[in-house]
Symmetry: T
Subunit: 150 residues, 12 copies
């Protein structure tokens, strides 16, 4: 049976829908999970959807993905810009990785415009809110297929 | 009848498939256009797919979009990093704009990691090759719907 | 009954009084807590005084403050200069926040002179040792009053 | 008969009056031309008023000015900040050059605060909207007189 | 009766005409004042023309302008590049402010190319010698009219 | 008899209450003085409360403090960010110095985020409006006591 | 009885031997531990060998070392370049500290070339793979002896 | 029959001989062409000598070179320092490319000292006026020979 | 009769001998004046020795020197690093100017290592305490002689 | 017979033991040589121990090592931070190279924290005084063995 | 009889042909000398071809050239990027100077992209291997002729 | 008998009087030596006056000064800005050191405005030509006296 796609969410994303809605929208993380599950199922994948405020836990999940996930969708939130340790974990993972952000980080504070995560990701999708997660799952699906056909 | 989505391609993208395939893949721009048309049709949209090496022509097409396009997918290629004039044109356009890049520009030369275009785009999708264009059309479709429902 | 003021302390502050006393003084964190409790009581507030070496735990406490605290006094210690995730948590909190530091960080190493926390705080008090905590509680009290009177 | 003053306008200025009116005002480029013509006539000059989105065309017009214009008023818009080629063209022109901007570029994005054009201009006028063009024509008129009297 | 326009001149401008004439020309400040008075009168304004080497005095004059001037023309000379206190004074003034410089500061030493004053000015005119003052008075006149008609 | 605490205010603070109230509040400097006097009296201190737009006068007051003041509360306003001469004066003063700012300068323009004054101050309090002055007097009082007990 | 030497390993080092072997070699962390134990025993020391992905746990271990370890060998991995909190913990430890890295970090990405850890370490050894750990234990042994003889 | 060598000249080079002769000399572009033709003929090559002010046209010529030129001599003039799009075109060309400049760009304005073109060129020749073109043709000839003999 | 040499001293130098003696020594400014007078007399010059905390007053004295001084010895103290207005005054003075500092400013804080004054001075002497003033007078004397003999 | 290990010492290291002992310790270079010889002999190696103040001589010794040394221990002292020529020599040497420093250069002046040598070294050992040389010889021995066994 | 052309080679160039051949090619410096002699003879010049690892020797040769050489071809190798002393020597030489590099230094490490030598050279030729030396001799020959005809 | 003062001159100073006289004057180094000898004799000192193009020789002379010189006057010329090794030698010398430059280095190229030498010198004298050497000898004499009297 196929491995699930890990959809991993970083610090403060548990507040989604209640925090700065003009930036992050009104959908809750629960809503986003539902969208992801639905999109994944339509493509024949399952989803492991998780959130943590802990950098260490996110690292451990990415390490776990080495044997347990067919791909990773990662929104590292505030750790995106500061965590080389997360990048190291991603670089030790050989499957497809898509970096996602709700907002267009390139239109925000200058310190939010640099991402260490991008150096360990196949692709980046940002500015599209929850829909970005759906597109990221499409992308993972496509990358898995390409790999199988390569 | 609905306006088409403009899919605009910048300098050297006419060489696609023949230039640095390890970075840009082997699909030609013709192939990309076919994928876009198909995806758009499945969502009920038409496509105006164009390429130009001229910054001025790209500006004019974005200006034209003000009255003629429901959304813009823009891969400005080398102008991404240097053209404030293209940004100005985008900022005068009120419809949805998605910036696309074949490669993950954040893993390339440092001068390719900054984009003026991002400041005028709703969202950014990069590193996913031709598939990124398809996802961009999905995103435009979604943004149009959200606007109509707003 | 009124919510308590959260007084949150970051990494290594549990060593207070035993570590580099020429910079941080000889009072222990226990002493600081006692001062805070006393000052708060004199103003009619209660205190929840906590310390953690974990960025994630600090984030969670700030999230908890959204429903459980009338204000936050935060000494993020080493995370002050590196944690965007803590800033994100603060920006999701609508009550008053005062940033405190024992030492005058502007007279120390250059990398200690920038604070992400300041972007999420109403005010900053530094260089005044444990007394700075007392003043911070005064400030929280004042900001709560102003808000109630606004 | 005296040579005309060239009033040259760069990319997107054809959108004037319809684009970001809070920055650029509601006058159209047609209106600005009318003001320029009137002001120039009152001083005994004629005007050649042009706009182009093309850097190359702007360069060619400045080259043409070498034998055909008594002075240049130049609003290079987005090319102001990026075009060394335009600067080179100006430096090959020996008549008076005034750089104009509708908005006060020093109060906008940091990348709009540097101008290559300034290095090739006698003077700079910005922040005064269409009126800045009229003053620029006054300035050209004065510089021509001074030269003739020198 | 209408308030006068303040024309304020910063340090060393009292030496005008005797100092580095290849940069600043041979007109004295007296000459410039005469030009300003004449231009203002032709537009129905009076002028209060002053010079000081003192940053504090310039600040006080700008403060005085709050109740006594219809607009300010300011050549802050050497303080242009270093005085945040002058900027603060300007930001507390609600009338029109035009920054003027005799020389084109963008073609001089790099430390002369940044202006704090610009952040508090409606418009900037530089490189046009004494004529720049006349144009600045035109601009003030226009801005007053626009305001009255708004 | 004990020496007074000097409360020194820099350029434009005389405009307090009438200038940019969204940043600086509606209290006048007179109001702030009254608060300071009251707080100082409650702690057994007298106050010498002064304001000047002149950097030289501020320097002279700090020099005067060497023999005439038990401590200094200093809001150097615009000179905070530019005056090394004020820092030099502070460094020649051996009593306690508290730097105060009405607004949280770390959330404003980048050029307002650096303070030379901090290098000559025991502590910094910012973002708390007039209340920050009261806390600063508390801090001076505490520092004087600690010194006497040392 | 003598206290053990703490050998502390940071995030992702648990993957050693399976991750990017061209950079980190094929030995597992278990292998490295065995080498350390053997080397330490030959010098009359015991070893406490630990790994964690958690910055907080690493901080706590360093704090524990204050009463429980004769020296610290620290490979902070990804936290090397980002953690001021770890530096603070080291600066509160008075015994010898040796910073170790498997690879020569000065030949890798520029963001891997700066270490906060170095500011809290007696010495640095990098680029020597697992052998570097053995040399670090030699160095700790030597520093302990020197201290005892001082 | 052998393909010609493309000798491509960027913006404002059509003014050669009439513009800033102290920097660029008195030879016209016609003269340079004659020198190039003569030198090429002596080596058995033909020349396609072109000039354009248009970045797009230069890009198109480089693209054309992919099937029509045995090598490229490129003086991109003002675009040298700003055009990533030209670099992209060069990187898609597999033949030898020599970058030429009339003046020694390293002794001019700092913004003229960086070249994007260099990243796509085999070699660089600057500071030798028209003679540099002749040497560039020698170099192309040599590189073609080496390739044929490789 | 010959004009005197102006020896001008900037802010806080009136505190000399009482302020940070480990940096500035124990001689008072009075002592320094006596040394200068004596040295000048031995060379046949008179001295006008002045000190001011006011940037404006220093500017005015330099302006006065244009008709009243044969040379200037200037220790601008804290204004050395921040005052372009003082530089402008010096650049309008045609006689010899020697910049003096008691301490070696290149071994102090980084912000004390840059001098605007140097751009307007013939020579610089620093690190030699009061003796540096004597050497500066020697230098002025020599420069005056050279000029007279030129 | 095996080639010796070169232990090369740069400028001013001949002063060891007599210069700034608080940084460099009290052992002389003679002492360090003795330690190196002893350690090398215990591992079956001989040592060629040299010191020079001349960059050229150091380069020549590294070139000599190409045929005459089994490995290089290099303490380039002041040239560490400035010599690209030394780096070039090292990059032309295929044997193992260990960079050594007596002090922990990362805790000293900022200009001592960058090393060109590191780019040409297998490993770096610093902060361990003369003991660092012994460890470096261990490391060379290990690297030679690994190579022979590879 | 005419003076020879000096062809001066800096540190490590004696290793040519044996060092990093993928960058520097397989020709030895002897081969390069032969090419230079041959090319020079064909143009009626003699050659003095030298190499040194010593900055001082290179300086002395350039000084010697003042009376003994008709021109200088200089490949300063690693000193290119670090030696102001070499630049000073070149600036005291009035004949033609051509800077040569085997590789295209603009495509290598960033610290190899800046040249002090360029500031003292007429022209620069790089990326053309040994052939670059031949072209440099052509250029010297041409510059000598132009000078004689001037 | 007293030790001589070392007057050490760096690269290219042997060309003095023949090189760029508009910067360095027309006196030869021989002339400067004569001035130094005369000035020293008048103060009861002897002089050892030397020049070298070799950084290593300058280092060795400074080392020699440790036992053979009562003070050092050093004009390190081009090495001033690049040699940390020279600084290290100076820091190992306990007598007085005066840094001298013929020209005012702060008015020249930006790369000539930073001096490593200043960090190892008591004082700096620049811009005064050969006379600066005489003043430097005065300063050495004074510093020796102060030391003897301390």
């Amino acid at each position: 049976m196929a491995l699930p796609i890990f959809v991993l969410n970083g610090p403060n994303l548990n507040l989604l829908g209640t925090r700065e809605p003009e930036i992050y929208g009104t959908q809750t993380l629960k809503d986003v999970e539902a969208l992801c599950v639905k999109r994944a199922q339509s493509l024949g994948h399952s989803i492991a959807f998780r959130q943590s405020n802990s950098e260490a836990e996110l690292i451990s999940w990415i390490q776990e993905a080495r044997s347990c996930a067919s791909g990773i969708v990662l929104n590292a939130a505030g750790y995106t810009h500061t965590s080389i340790a997360l990048l190291d974990a991603l670089q030790a993972y050989s499957g497809p990785v898509i970096e996602v952000h709700f907002s267009n980080i390139f239109r925000r504070d200058s310190f939010r415009q640099h991402s260490y995560i991008s150096l360990g990701a196949s692709g980046v999708i940002c500015g599209l809110g929850a829909h970005g997660y759906e597109l990221a799952i499409d992308a993972i699906d496509r990358l898995i297929s390409e790999k199988q056909n390569a």
